[in-house]
């Protein structure tokens, strides 16, 4: 199937097809020169498959993990592009998860002031979330994604077959972002998670389609796109605090959403879904410590913070609350509100 992201200046297709990676010439010109940017977390078979069909492609592989999504890796990739004499008419393909897409996309957006960028996300998380919307970035100082750009790809190519080599925990990790999308925007997607057998294809396509619409409404995150932060205020603070466990991003977002579901029945439903996905339960945390991480995320800019609440499935409201209110929420925990 094909979804079209319609933006003012840059419109582009998202292809979702099983075995797309076996027929890459259906989606891009096989004779162009490509830098395939990937990391060593991706099974080599996917890289080989792609490279076999692109005679003028070369591979740049960096060590996997968020810790490498930084300006050092960025410079390493840039140097390789220069060594391979990449010109403005050549293109970069990011093949991998969110780190690869974010870093590869940021390289593409700034090499010679921007070259064509194709994104081939290979994890559920990157398929449903980071590959759609043009946000590219690296981490810097102690901040995630603080250096980056809005840079739309020429196309996003999703081959669900890549999920066959993905660790089940990583699948659940990504599904939480899809669940989030359903919770704020469409109850039918939430119901998909309550079926006996999860239909991954349907969930991924529905989730991408919802995200596509949000991005079309607000490409540069000046308003509505902020609703995608549902679950992220506390979730991201937990992720930063417990980086050494580590919890995965989606796992923390799952935990973080539970603080902002006001309807006990809905909260119960979501807890059941998260349990089914084997999302760990919220650890015993120190509210004051988590609050300090929330503040760090906001860079001490303001005395208030915008959060998203989901009053009922498929709906949202934005609220401006104070740090003392966040403290109260953290102190109260998810079951005593």
């Amino acid at each position: 199937m094909q979804l079209q992201v319609q933006l003012e200046e840059h419109s582009y297709p998202i292809y979702i097809e099983h075995h797309a990676l076996d027929r890459i010439k259906n989606y891009l010109d096989p004779n162009r020169k490509y830098a395939i940017v990937t990391d060593d977390g991706l099974p080599k078979k996917w890289v080989d498959k792609l490279q076999a069909q692109l005679p003028n492609a070369f591979v740049i592989c960096f060590p996997h993990g968020e810790a490498n999504k930084n300006l050092e890796t960025y410079q390493t990739v840039m140097k390789k592009l220069i060594e391979h004499h990449m010109s403005r008419s050549d293109a970069l393909i990011a093949l991998g998860g969110g780190v690869v897409g974010d870093l590869g996309g940021f390289v593409a957006s700034t090499y010679m002031r921007g070259i064509d960028f194709y994104n081939i996300p290979t994890t559920v998380l990157s398929q449903v979330d980071s590959s759609v919307g043009g946000k590219v970035a690296v981490d810097f100082d102690t901040y995630k994604n603080i250096i980056g750009a809005f840079y739309q790809p020429k196309a996003v190519i999703i081959d669900p077959e890549t999920l066959t080599t993905l660790d089940p925990r990583q699948i659940s990790n990504g599904l939480v972002e899809a669940l989030k999308m359903g919770l704020i925007l469409d109850e039918r997607l939430v119901q998909e998670f309550e079926k006996d057998t999860l239909d991954l294809d349907t969930i991924i396509a529905a989730s991408i389609d919802l995200k596509r619409q949000i991005v079309q409404d607000d490409e540069k995150e000046q308003g509505k796109r902020a609703i995608l932060n549902f679950g992220h205020t506390i979730g991201h603070a937990l992720e930063s605090r417990y980086f050494d466990v580590p919890y995965y991003h989606g796992e923390c977002i799952g935990m973080g959403m539970l603080f902002f579901l006001n309807d006990p029945a809905l909260k119960h439903r979501v807890e059941a879904i998260l349990e089914k996905l084997n999302i760990p339960s919220i650890p015993d945390y120190d509210p004051e410590e988590i609050l300090s991480y929330v503040k760090h995320d906001k860079k001490g800019k303001s005395e208030t913070i915008n959060i998203i609440e989901v009053p009922k499935a498929g709906s949202w409201q934005m609220k401006t609350i104070t740090y003392p209110e966040i403290r109260q929420i953290l102190q109260g925990g998810i079951h005593e509100k």
Copy 2:
């Protein structure tokens, strides 16, 4: 006076007013939070003047010179923005020459995926050339501007009074780019240079207006904008080779243009103008060595190179030539073609 740059997505004004820096609130909201990025080559009086009128501004000053237009300085500036809790709704002002505008603009384009950018160029070169058109960049590896973006400012504010503290050699340096603009696009601007007394205000405004039109036609340099490279193929190679003299950028562009003026009468006129501007004459060079710098600029990408010729004042033609042809031109020198 005010010129408007009309682009598809981002239109913005260029203000050219004497004493604009004394009345900055006419051009931007004085109460916003600003990072003023500048270098230690600019007399402090201009920074002080600006800061005195902007209560929520702070200054980031880095050592002057092209050698500092790199990712190290970029990271230093980024860290300062973080330390000062800059948010996406704050803005960056670049106050200085081309290096400040290029680096400051690239920081603005990538801090939190882009914050508002005001450019206040204080040299002739940056006023007539680099401040108009949205090209922002840093140097990397051995390449100029290889990392960057197209990022249009909110406004360009030009106060010709800043030229009163500029070294006369720097004024001539910038005027060569204005002369270039006249040679490719409008003979009347060339004639301005032949008057007994140069009218800087007229030359700067006319040159900016011509550049504005080129940028409007081809924002992302996919076609016509390449004519601005007139004089740069050999000029830039000379600049790289003789970096230790050093020759200024405009001086080298002046030298470089002479190779691509086919009409002897016009070449004579241009030589007279360059002499009046005290542009040094072309040093004794080794053609083979200069050729290697030309190739380096092109990153060995192709066997041919596009150059711009000016057959008569106010006109141009683009030609694709080979490296052996460049060698011949270099061997021939400017008077034996």
